[in-house]
Subunit: 123 residues, 2 copies
DNA sequence: GATATGTGTCAGGAATCTTTGACAGGTGAC
DNA sequence: GTCACCTGTCAAAGATTCCTGACACATATC
């Protein structure tokens, strides 16, 4: 019965994941890495993209925990950084979104003046 | 046996959904609409946001099929637009992402020059 | 009429993301 | 040393997104 209970992701976590995956290039990168792990230079010319750009996208994906990079040393001494996709799993429904929204660490939290019940406002 | 088979979203569809949900304000909007449907003006002051801005976010969410708006006429004759969240459900895993990535209608599809096996490139 | 509420849109600036080209290392092979 | 690979970073330009303050238009109430 290893029945995994619905894991409730943190607002910030889900936010990073969604914004990371909400980009055509990043989606394609994940797709390419699904077929086979690869290192950045090879992957760059495989999907026809500049290395600095790919580097940035990979960074974004890694920050979201969707891919993992390991700096390895090939047999010939060359230093190479391989990337693999991590077996992530997120369930996207109104409930988990609402739940996540409640735990967002908005950096723009400049006003702590709040106080209105926000209930009578609805009418 | 109403076992729902894993629905494979289109690349463009998933892209719209993810980029729509990958925004703190939009997540909060969904959360607010989960508690109770509401019309844009009331919702605007409920979550403390300008109407034009809210309008734009709602539009984005509706375009992604995450919320639905209906223009109703209240008993007193006022025209009001109510929004409800649609019961969406997406499964986010490497596989569905890779699958979706394959069906992306990239508007930047300028080069059909491809042809390399993209296999020997990996080495 | 004037006021208050609702709807929507538009133009322009602010903030952010994306993209590119150049640079600075490192190692192995000729 | 020189060449061919790999790694990473930086600054500046380009393209999007986000946000705000008007504006126009309806209806009901005073």
């Amino acid at each position: 019965m290893p029945e995994a209970p619905p894991p409730a992701p943190t607002g910030d976590e889900l936010l990073k994941v969604l914004s990371a995956l909400g980009n055509p290039h990043r989606m394609r990168i994940v797709a390419a890495l699904m077929e086979s792990r690869n290192y950045v230079s090879a992957l760059a010319r495989l999907i026809g993209m500049g290395r600095p750009l790919l580097h940035m996208h990979l960074q974004r994906l890694e920050a979201a925990g969707l891919v993992a990079g390991t700096l390895e040393v090939a047999e010939d001494g060359k230093t190479v950084k391989y990337f693999d996709v991590t077996p992530f799993f997120y369930e996207l429904t109104p409930r988990v979104v609402a739940q996540a929204a409640a735990t967002i660490t908005d950096t723009t939290e400049t006003d702590r003046t709040a106080g209105r019940s926000a209930k009578e406002e609805a009418k």
